[in-house]
């Protein structure tokens, strides 16, 4: 009995020591997390970033950037909506210098809330004007068109061709096999909705969506759940951006893209400085924006299975990747879409996917 107690005491001691060690870690982090602490004050060679890019992908850019500049990037991965929420909640004492990735939808909202610091990279000279921020706050870094992400096996099994127009999606043979995210929760789905409104007009669009609703398996909560549902065979066609639709193929899932020939929208991905971010990281943040806007930075898209299309016309897209020239893209108005978001989403909920007419 006595020995047992001794053993227990020893184990407790070990735990306590473990805890104390961790406590030390606490303090360290606390001083690092506060407003620009001692050692970093004079020209830090670190950079703190919130990113909406997948972790494996983003590490690739950070490594290349560190190699080129010696600046180490500390990043936290969040979904685009979470990233914006976090930046908004932290606005009195921002913890990161940069928002990196995610659609302009988020950046326009962030800019309207006064969360961003205007900075336009000199590297944007090779970026087409329609991708640029008219207010000059955020920097475009990639584009992607809305596609039909199709489950190859399901189509092969049924002997169907991939759909190539929005109206084909209404075919009863796709009953319960189309999937998209809910526009209220997903920027991707909202872009789909805004595209359809632009294509069909503000009145006719609801008739179309009511028809489409009959084939809809569900409106998922997160944007990525739609292509993942197709990957897992829960649905056959996801309405999503090309790069998101192809993401599951990295894991080996059988997904192929087709594009609507009667016009499709696109998203511009962006990055921007967070207003009032760590002062000693501002220069590094600008360097990183310049890096990602440059052809050199955007050439990386072709190397890491990102499936992203560069915005810099000097950069080379990945081989076999469908760029926007070969797709019937409409003149998508992101600012108009962002400004009317509340109203369109409310209409969508009232007409199509309100919780009352579900179940």
């Amino acid at each position: 009995m006595k020995q047992k107690r001794l053993l227990a005491l020893l184990l407790t001691l070990v735990m306590v020591i473990g805890l104390t060690a961790c406590g030390g870690g606490d303090d360290e982090a606390a001083s690092g997390g506060g407003e620009g602490s001692g050692e970093e004050a004079s020209g830090s060679n670190e950079l703190t970033v919130y990113t909406a890019f997948p972790e494996a992908e983003v590490a690739y850019y950070f490594n290349a950037f560190e190699e080129a500049t010696g600046i180490k990037v500390n990043a936290l991965r969040l979904s685009a909506g979470e990233m914006l929420t976090r930046v908004a909640a932290e606005k009195d004492n921002p913890q990161a210098a940069l928002m990196f990735g995610g659609s302009t939808d988020n950046y326009i909202a962030a800019s309207n809330q006064g969360l961003l610091e205007a900075y336009q990279s000199p590297e944007l000279s090779n970026t087409p004007e329609n991708y640029l921020d008219p207010d000059g706050v955020w920097n475009p870094i990639y584009v992607g068109a809305i596609a039909f992400a199709c489950n190859r096996d399901w189509f092969a099994d049924k002997g169907y061709e991939y759909p190539t127009s929005w109206d084909e999606l209404l075919d009863p043979k796709y009953e319960n096999m189309v999937i998209m995210a809910h526009p209220a929760t997903s920027g991707t789905a909202y872009t789909v909705l805004a595209t359809l409104i632009q294509l069909k007009g503000e009145d006719a669009v609801w008739d179309y969506l009511k028809e489409l609703d009959k084939n809809m398996s569900q409106y998922t909560k997160s944007g990525s759940a739609a292509p993942n549902g197709v990957a897992l065979g829960e649905a056959a066609i996801a309405l999503t951006f090309s790069h998101d639709g192809l993401q599951p193929t990295v894991e080996g899932y059988p997904i192929e893209l087709s594009f609507p020939t009667d016009g499709t929208g696109y998203e511009v991905g962006a990055m921007a400085l967070i207003k009032g971010g760590p002062a000693d990281e501002q220069e590094n943040a600008k360097k990183f924006i310049d890096f990602m806007c440059s052809a050199e930075g955007q050439n990386l898209y072709a190397e890491n299975n990102s499936f992203r299309v560069p915005t810099n016309s000097e950069a080379t897209p990945a081989e076999g990747l469908v760029t926007l020239d070969s797709v019937a893209v409409i003149d998508y108005d992101a600012v108009w879409a962002a400004d009317n978001k509340d109203e369109f989403v409310a209409q969508f909920e009232a007409n199509i996917a309100s919780s009352e007419n579900l179940e």
Binding site: C22, A30, A184, S355
Partner: protein, 581 residues
């Protein structure tokens, strides 16, 4: 039997409170504990919640405004979501508590075989992030499901919706009911039931007239805890709910999808209403029926039920639940060894290599912070249970209510509340490990408090009074008398806090930092990128880590807090705890 608090009604109660308050001022350890607890609760529970409240009731200019609240109450969609969330919570609470009770009864009262196995099964489901169960259900019963499609050739089974959600939530949350109930059932004095039996009552009669009423506080506590968990659960309804939306998902969607933090906060505060009602019912209705059965008088060890007609049906029921759990978890383990889950079933070990390479740091962070939080939370929980269960004084109600508040706040809002409160001076905590530890402590402590309180309510005051009369200070009495009795409750609290800290999702999304990233946010990301097999590998590793630590906790607590050997065998706590898990 009753621990009478005076028959004179309100005025007597008030008098008692005043007297006890006076008495406490003369007990320095007690007084300091109470003050310290109140300060901590004010700082880490009340302050952040008040910040959210202010935030949700002011407009952009900072003026008081009820516009958002009015808008929500006039939207039938929100009210319907609210109603459905409650219905779901009630269904899940009843089923989960029933299953938990059967397990607890079979393990503590009967002679069923494989008790160690059943105990493990009854705690296993809280060991992993809940969305993994959702994935299992999709893989087993979805359109391409292994059971629906491969076995039965069904290709159009819609697995999303309320039915699946109930299954997943019941499986995820019945361990909480089990843990609360097994603590209570094993601390009911065996002689009470034996007396009934000896006087000729049938087992059935004994159960309904003795065991069941005595365990009623535990049943209600179990229901309450499960109900609250179901209410604030985010990851399950978000993954498997399909078009069935619950309030916590609505909150998250409103905040991160419509960028409307204010409306989200109001909705979240709405969630507090049913939780508080449930809590108050428990506190002032159930706990009034004070049941004292641990009297300190020596009793003999419990005779376990061995009648086949009782034992085997219970055993079969438990095994059936166990089979479902094993099926679900087996699917996850299997999934961690395949190349592409749901598509390419070639076996491989690559997932583990990649998971360790990418996630070791975050796994270590989770373990370290979880341990710190569990120890602090477990101890603090016992202290709070101790200072609130038996006494009455000014400020007690504040401690009771505020200490469970965090449990009920949806994680998303908790995260935002903490950012609002601790991102600016006087107390800047964002980006540190401390903020995560604090959230874990205050969020998960209520389980420790509940099981501690219910255990303490069954212990006759006379035991501690005897100790005090013999000259022991209140601190000494607590350590030597109550703490050993609280062993099971402390263990449940510790395990629960540790597990919940490591598996938390929505509460930490807004609090993790580049330096302190945690394993669940890594797994969440893997789901996002359809890396299901790698996520499964992570979860399998987590379950192993958790089991190892629970084994260590169990052994440590048995060694440190076991009643002294000179106490005759059979006194105090009767349950023979297996030391191996």
């Amino acid at each position: 039997m009753a621990n009478s608090s005076g028959s004179g009604g309100k005025s007597a109660a008030r008098l008692k409170r005043r007297n006890e308050t006076k008495m406490i001022t003369r007990q320095p350890v007690m007084l300091i504990s109470i003050i310290a607890v109140i300060v901590l609760l004010l700082l880490f529970v009340v302050y952040p919640l008040v910040k959210v409240l202010i935030f949700s009731l002011t407009d952009e200019t900072g003026a008081f405004s009820l516009a958002t609240a009015a808008e929500i109450f006039s939207t039938s969609r929100y009210l319907k979501t609210f109603g459905r969330t409650i219905v779901l919570g009630l269904i899940v609470a009843v089923i989960a508590t029933f299953i938990g009770y059967v397990f607890a009864y079979a393990i503590t009262r009967t002679n069923v075989p494989c008790k160690g196995f059943l105990k493990t099964i009854a705690t296993l489901p809280i060991l992993s992030p809940p969305f993994i169960l959702c994935l299992s259900i999709i893989f087993l019963f979805g359109r391409q499901g292994l059971i629906t499609n491969t076995l039965f050739g069904i290709t159009d089974n819609n697995v999303y919706g309320m039915g699946s959600l109930i299954v997943v939530q019941v499986l995820s949350f019945f361990p909480i009911a089990y843990m609360t109930l097994s603590g209570i059932l094993s601390s009911i004095d065996a002689s009470v039931e034996d007396a009934a039996c000896n006087m000729g009552a049938s087992r059935w009669h004994t159960f309904w007239t003795v065991t069941f009423p005595l365990s009623l506080p535990g049943i209600i506590s179990g229901c309450l805890l499960v109900f609250i968990q179901s209410l604030e659960d985010f990851s399950n309804p978000a993954t498997i709910g399909g078009d069935f939306t619950t309030l916590s998902v609505e909150v998250y969607q409103t905040i991160t999808g419509s960028y409307d933090m204010q409306k989200g906060s109001v909705l979240a505060l709405l969630m507090l209403v049913p939780t508080m009602i449930a809590y108050l019912l428990n506190k002032y209705w159930v706990n009034k029926k004070s049941f004292v059965t641990v009297t300190g008088k020596p009793t003999q060890a419990r005779k376990l039920i061995d009648e086949p007609h009782i034992k085997w049906p219970l055993f079969i029921f438990c095994m059936a639940v166990a089979a479902v759990i094993i099926l679900f978890y087996g699917t996850v383990v299997f999934g961690s060894f395949v190349t592409t889950w749901g598509y390419n079933y070639t076996l491989t070990l690559d997932q583990y290599g990649r998971a360790l390479q990418q996630g070791w740091d975050s796994l270590r962070n989770s373990i370290v912070l979880g341990l710190v939080a569990a120890l602090i939370g477990g101890l603090l929980g016992m202290v709070i249970a101790y200072i609130t269960a038996k006494r009455d004084y000014y400020g007690k109600r504040f401690i009771e209510v505020s200490s469970v508040l965090m449990f009920a706040v949806p994680g998303t809002v908790l995260g935002i509340a903490y950012i609002l409160a601790f991102n600016t001076p006087p107390l800047v905590l964002t980006g540190t490990a401390a903020i995560l530890v604090i959230v874990f402590v205050f969020r998960n402590m209520p389980v420790a408090i509940e099981s501690g309180t219910t255990t303490l309510l069954q212990i006759d005051n006379a035991i501690e009074e005897a100790s005090t009369v013999l000259g022991a200070g209140s601190g000494y009495s607590f350590r030597r008398i109550s703490l050993p009795m609280l062993r099971n409750a402390f263990f449940s609290g510790l395990v629960y806090s540790f597990v919940k800290a490591i598996t938390a999702v929505s509460a930490i999304i807004f609090l993790v930092s580049p330096r302190w990233d945690l394993v669940t946010s890594k797994i969440y990301t893997l789901f996002d990128q359809a890396k299901y097999s790698q996520a499964a590998a992570f979860v399998t590793m987590m379950v192993v880590v958790l089991l190892v630590f629970i084994g260590i906790f169990n052994a440590l607590i048995n060694l440190l807090l076991a009643p002294r050997s000179r106490v005759p065998k059979g006194a105090g706590i009767h349950e023979k705890t297996e030391e191996t898990t």
